[in-house]
């Protein structure tokens, strides 16, 4: 599903964020991506989402070589990849419903279908009945679940999460992490960037560890 081979990423300021990364993620896998801040976790996710392009090497996502994908095809690619952010990135002047509907509106989904899929996504994150509230009226954990609902509303085959539990207390963090595990069981390839080692033990997921831009550890899932 996601294949990196000899991927280098050097930023315009000369900083080398990734150095010779090679790995392969199968469809339906759950991945924990760890490493200290600055190790290159975010850069790796950005390459998968095509926010950045690799300087060298091949990035193949969903059978598409992103190195060669023209910029105008970026939106179509991103619709295949749901993203959850550490700071949720919700629109605070819009209701929960409108926030979750955004990727569907963007993709040109019809009105009735939008309502159906938003409710399905809300159901998955256990927030049914809160669609007409504004994000500010929700707790941090609930806001993050709205962020997850938005990421899965369009049913993307790949789900990325960048430190999704960074701002939550341990109990809420566990709930969110369980949610990712549950989504993974529904055949979604899930990559979670986190520096919280607890999650790796709890979920028993495959581990990819980055250190200063190099892949230093690729530990198979405990099954």
């Amino acid at each position: 599903m996601i294949r990196f081979s000899q991927v280098h990423k050097r930023y315009a300021n000369g900083f080398e964020a990734l150095k010779g990364i090679t790995f392969h993620i199968e469809p339906g896998e759950l991945i924990m991506l760890t490493g200290h801040s600055g190790a290159g976790k975010s850069t790796l996710l950005k390459l998968v989402l095509l926010v950045e392009r690799a300087t060298r090497g091949q990035v193949i996502v969903n059978e598409q070589n992103l190195v060669k994908l023209p910029a105008r095809r970026t939106p179509q690619h991103r619709r295949q990849v749901g993203v959850v952010f550490q700071d949720h990135k919700l629109l605070y002047d819009r209701t929960v419903f409108d926030n979750i509907a955004l990727p569907l509106v963007v993709a040109g989904v019809g009105h009735r279908e939008i309502a159906r899929r938003v409710r399905a996504a809300l159901d998955k994150v256990s927030l049914l009945g809160k669609e007409s509230l504004f994000p500010i009226m929700l707790s941090g954990g609930e806001q993050q679940r709205v962020g997850i609902a938005r990421a899965i509303a369009n049913r993307p085959p790949i789900l990325l999460a960048d430190e999704p539990t960074g701002n939550l207390d341990p109990q809420l963090a566990d709930e969110i992490m369980d949610l990712f595990v549950a989504l993974n069981r529904h055949n979604t390839t899930v990559v979670v960037a986190t520096h919280d080692l607890r999650h790796i033990e709890r979920t028993g997921a495959r581990l990819l560890e980055l250190q200063s831009g190099r892949l230093v550890h690729d530990q198979a899932a405990l099954s």
Partner: protein, 314 residues
Amino acid sequence: MKAYFLRHAQMLLFALGQLVRQPAASLMTLSVNAIALALPAGLFLLMENTTRASAAWEARPQISVYLKSTVSENELTGLSDRLLSRADIDEVIYVSAESGLAEFRDLSGFGAALDLLDENPLPAVLTVYPARDATAPEQMSALATEFENLPNVEQVQIDLQWLQRLRSLIQLAQRGLWVVVAFLATGLVLIISNTIRLAILSREDEITIIDLIGGTPAFIRRPFLYSGWLQGLLGGILAWIFLALAYLLLRGPLIRLLELYQSDLHINGPGWRYGFILMVVGASLGWLASRITTERYLRQLSPDAEHSIARKKF
């Protein structure tokens, strides 16, 4: 397809809603737009009326041949026939001294002063209209020199110069008008660009998110294009209202002035045609302005951009 139109209608309503939410600020921006549109439109209106008026004055090029007072009826007919028989002369009109005086009395308003004179001070005149292909300034002056050497001719005058001057003056004014139009159109584009730029900055978070979840540049651009288009259109309508107000204020005094000159010219106001053109031009410039601004901004969202906005937000 229905969903597509529905979405566009929503965008239009959204853009309108944004304007209505800040009525004072919107009215000020729209007024600036309107003034930038109304000024050149007003000048066009002025130009149109002046050109029409000058066309009414504009006779065929003519040469006035003033005859000596001693000329006899026979000599006159002979001269007139001789001129008429030439290929480079179209028409010769004889104005006798008496009818010349009557006309002068009518038009000049010096009737009472003329009554004091013992005899008619005006000479008889032959007004000569050269053929169409003989109206070039050199040909006209050659004819004039020829006429001056004829017997019984006192003086020859070409009534051409002032017309040429008027014509080149109008041409200059027209050229100047286009320069003003170019400046003000650029100004309008810059004004709308700036409001669009501020709107983009205030919604940067939203744009970033839409970009990250797969919104196309067209989707991101659409509300801003509607906003720019709408600002231009409303500016155009307001410009028309301004122009109509200015016209209504000036029309009365202008008509009185024309009456004093005994002119039966009537003035053209800013009619529907002006309204239509102002709206079309305003909307087009507004659309263009926001197209340019959004294009510049959206380029930064590309994964190949040097400084991506999305990358610093994620």
